[in-house]
Amino acid sequence: MPLDYPMHRRTLPNGLRVVVSPDHTVPNVTVNIWVGVGSRHESPGRTGFAHLFEHLMFQGSRSVRSGEHFEALMAAGGRLNATTWFDRTNYFETVPTGVLELALWLEADRHGHLLDAVTQENLDNQRDVVKEEKRQRYDNQPYGTALIDVYAALFPDEHPYHHPTIGSMEDLDAASLADVHDFFRRFYAPDNTVLTLCGDVEAERGVELVERYFGGLTARAEPARPLLPQLDPLRGPVRVDRRREVPNDRLHVAFRLPVDDTDEFLACSLALDCVAGLSTSRVARRLVRREQTALGAHASAWGFVDGASIGMVVLDVAPGADPIDVEQALVEELDRLADDGPTEVELETSLAQAERGWLSALASQEDRADLVSRYTLLHDDPQRVNTYLDRLRAVTSEEVTAAADRWLRPHHRLTVAFLTDPESSGSAEAVA
């Protein structure tokens, strides 16, 4: 039975897609904005720019001084932030009902009139902040750069998912004020944006308020290029070994997957759960519980829209165990699933966990609003939030087997291995 969160959808004359999902259980409203620009739109030499730009959105606009966006909303009881990812940039705040109009006014000011306030000083300051963010989250973390290796080896040069959202230090250094102006004009426009209101507001009133504050913005986004065709599975296996000072060996085993929100992508995500995503997955039972050659096993499927998604299994190798043996065991389990398919219990378990996860994600207004924006921007259908579990339940055992056979065979894998370096020599690296 589908969920029944209400979804009222309206497109304003300037192209802004508005969804209102009323929920009066808490006197709050979440404003969640997805702009159709992410790191996949960045040009060579400007990686990391979409994210740096996101930081500048907090540094003032035509009628708002630098820092005021945070300050004004927090002082009124708002919780807010923004994030950048491959396919989109997301701005959001959850505010008391009586602050909704202020939130919309502040958002409209920066989404319509950012360039009036951008300065070289703000750009330089936030460039420094973003570099510290990169150091904190990637460079100064054990295994922190593993995903950067995954993207680079899983996707061809020039592919939109070949580089990470955080970008490179060199490209961050190269970003100029002219780039900021150009980027804003190309991508920040109502016709490239979805705005979701979730919470204590009626549908008509919500649309009316959005129109009041965003109606004056003009449609001007550049036409979106068509999405790339589906990438075939990797012709592998491909291996990247990194010797690092890490606490234990860790294997990141990655696959290209079908694009997001397709039945085949859902089947792949269930297959990955059965192999290594559940605490009772095949790999967890075998390597973590019985053979005890792995400390932990995890799997995830990240859905993207531009020609490929990513599936990944992460294995922490137990001290004293051989990472080659651990990887070989995973290889056997991948083949076995693709040969024989999941058991009834495995499918039931994957669905039970997916259901709890999905309902938990929908439990808060802010996360629900985020999912509504996602399905509206990327798939043009907010109702998918309500029907997702039904679509997942409709996936058959045969479809899971077929998906594992086509996408998750061991010869389609990329392995990025972070290996402890007893010599601490630091940088001996091999790419095969």
């Binding site: 929920d23 259980t25 808490v26 006197p27 709050n28 009628s63 820092g67 300050e71 927090m74 002082a75 009881g77 919780r79 959850t94 008391p96 009902t97 009586g98 602050v99 109009e101 202020l102 006014w105 319509g112 330089d124 300051n125 936030q126 420094d128 902040v129 973003v130 510290e132 963010e133 904190q136 989250r137 973390q141 054990p142 504050y213 004056g216 000072e245 606490p247 234990n248 559940l278 605490s279 009772t280 039972r285 519980r289 005890q292 400390l295 922490d316 137990a318 001290p319 219990v345 039931e348 378990t349 039970a352 966990q353 259901e355 709890r356 309902l359 938990s360 439990a363 808060s364 802010e366």
Partner: protein, 449 residues
């Protein structure tokens, strides 16, 4: 013409969702929060346990006991138990804080009864198979290495060791050290469980859409049957003893590190403080709770030295700490630490009316959203139970906040922040140590990574 800047309408008064309270025949206290629309139900069990009662040299036995509860019971083997939980959509976590053992479960509404039954089994008749004990101990040893590798974890561990008296349990990680955990045997776990984990003083919290679940009967029929005749209730909590030489700087050497993790702290209040808890969340926000708070206005927005440094009061069941933590690029470590301590000490001079207003409004007006979901309500309710605070504590604290004036903030801050700091810097000692001279007070020692 753009519309004019709209005014803000003040919110209606709000209260933390009140639980319905029961006491079961075995003495277990039950708090039920019916939250319509929350289809994933959160079940929490808290058992007062004092880590001081762990045998000497066996620190971590409480945490390992918690982690082993669901690794097999009298009725089900470890894999079978895991499968039962996972097939019913359960997610279970168990661990310890300084004041108790906590079991956290999230489960779809339809499976609440199954979940409660499995939790009751896990608490009352865990089997602690020897192989599982050895596996969980090995995993903890690996986890210790992973925590050592993380600059943020490493900094907090060193801060505890610097802040608290070496003989106090608080100076050692709650989940134990490599030495103490490595020494654990199945017997240690079995006897700790028998002696220290029982229904006396325990509290069960259930939050979520409880319509049609028969939640009280479900809990009474499962956790209400839990008995343990050997259980010795936990002693009353006492605050940790600060270290006599806590006013110093410890550099944890990470040769070549591109950033330095900074953690500075001092002893702080618990939520039962006789002066009232209301000022502390406001102070944490005003001093270091946002990009425009005092700390990041300088270190992030003016200097660009950090992605963010946050301040927090960290209450324990008794006592607590005040901590500022974040990372900066290596070459500015000394200057950033000096600026940070300057801002923290400078705040002893007091706060403005607008800071007070912004801070109280932020904390009070975000509360309805922060406590909107079943898991958030259950977590807060369980924490209050363990801290022996009344169920309306959250509501009365917010009410008290409305009456604060700048002098209240200043007095509360000065009671905690005396200018005596424990400073931990995790980074490249060769870069850091020579630059500290004269900029950061206290003797400097360097320890291995």
């Amino acid at each position: 013409m753009s519309p004019a800047r709209p005014a803000v309408a003040p919110p209606e008064p709000w209260t933390f969702p009140a639980p319905v309270e029961h006491v079961l025949d075995n003495g277990v206290r039950v708090l039920l929060h019916d939250v319509p629309g929350q289809y994933v139900v959160s079940l929490r069990v808290v058992v007062p346990v004092s880590l001081r009662t762990e045998p000497a040299g066996r620190e971590g036995v409480a945490a390992m006991t918690a982690r082993l509860l669901d690794e097999g019971t009298a009725q089900h083997g470890p894999e079978e138990f895991a499968e039962l939980m996972e097939r019913h959509g359960m997610l279970l976590g168990a661990g310890v804080s300084d004041g108790g053992l906590l079991v956290d479960v999230d489960v779809p509404q339809a499976h609440l009864a199954t979940a409660a039954g499995l939790v009751a089994q896990a608490l009352s008749e865990p089997a602690f198979p020897d192989g599982e004990v050895r596996r969980i101990v090995r995993n903890r040893l690996a986890e210790i290495e992973q925590e050592r590798a993380s600059a943020a974890h490493r900094a907090m561990r060193e801060l505890s060791r610097t802040l608290w008296d070496p003989a106090d349990r608080a100076a050692t990680p709650a989940a134990g050290t490599a030495e103490s955990v490595g020494a654990l045997t199945r017997d240690d776990v079995v006897s700790f469980h028998r002696q220290r984990v029982g229904p006396a003083g325990a509290c069960v919290v259930v939050a979520g859409d409880l319509a049609g679940t028969g939640a009280l009967d479900v809990v009474a029929g499962s956790l209400g049957r839990w008995t343990n005749d050997d259980h010795e209730p936990a002693p009353s909590p006492v605050p940790p003893q600060p270290s006599a030489d806590r006013r110093r700087v410890v550099v944890v050497d990470r040769p070549g590190a591109v950033q330095t993790e900074i953690a500075v702290g001092c002893p702080g209040p618990d939520r039962s403080t006789s002066h009232g808890w209301a000022p502390y969340p406001v102070l944490a926000f005003v001093v270091g709770g946002s990009p425009t708070a005092r700390v990041d206005a300088v270190l992030r927005e003016e200097k660009g030295y950090t992605y963010g440094i946050r301040t927090s009061f960290r209450p324990r069941v008794a006592g607590g700490s005040f901590v500022a933590q974040g990372s900066v690029r290596s070459e500015v470590t000394a200057e950033a630490t000096q600026l940070l301590l300057g801002i923290l000490d400078g705040a002893r001079d007091g706060f403005t009316d607008s800071e007070l207003r912004a801070g109280t409004d932020f904390v009070a007006r975000t509360a309805p959203g922060r406590y909107a979901t079943a898991d958030a309500i259950a977590d807060e309710s369980a924490a209050l139970a363990l801290e022996r605070l009344p169920v309306d504590f959250t509501t009365t604290t917010l009410r008290d906040m409305a009456d604060l004036d700048p002098d209240d903030l200043r007095s509360a801050y000065r009671r905690t922040v005396t200018g005596d700091w424990s400073v931990v810097l995790v980074g490249d000692a060769d870069t850091i140590v020579p630059s500290l001279d004269g900029r950061v007070p206290g003797p400097v020692t360097t320890v291995d990574r």
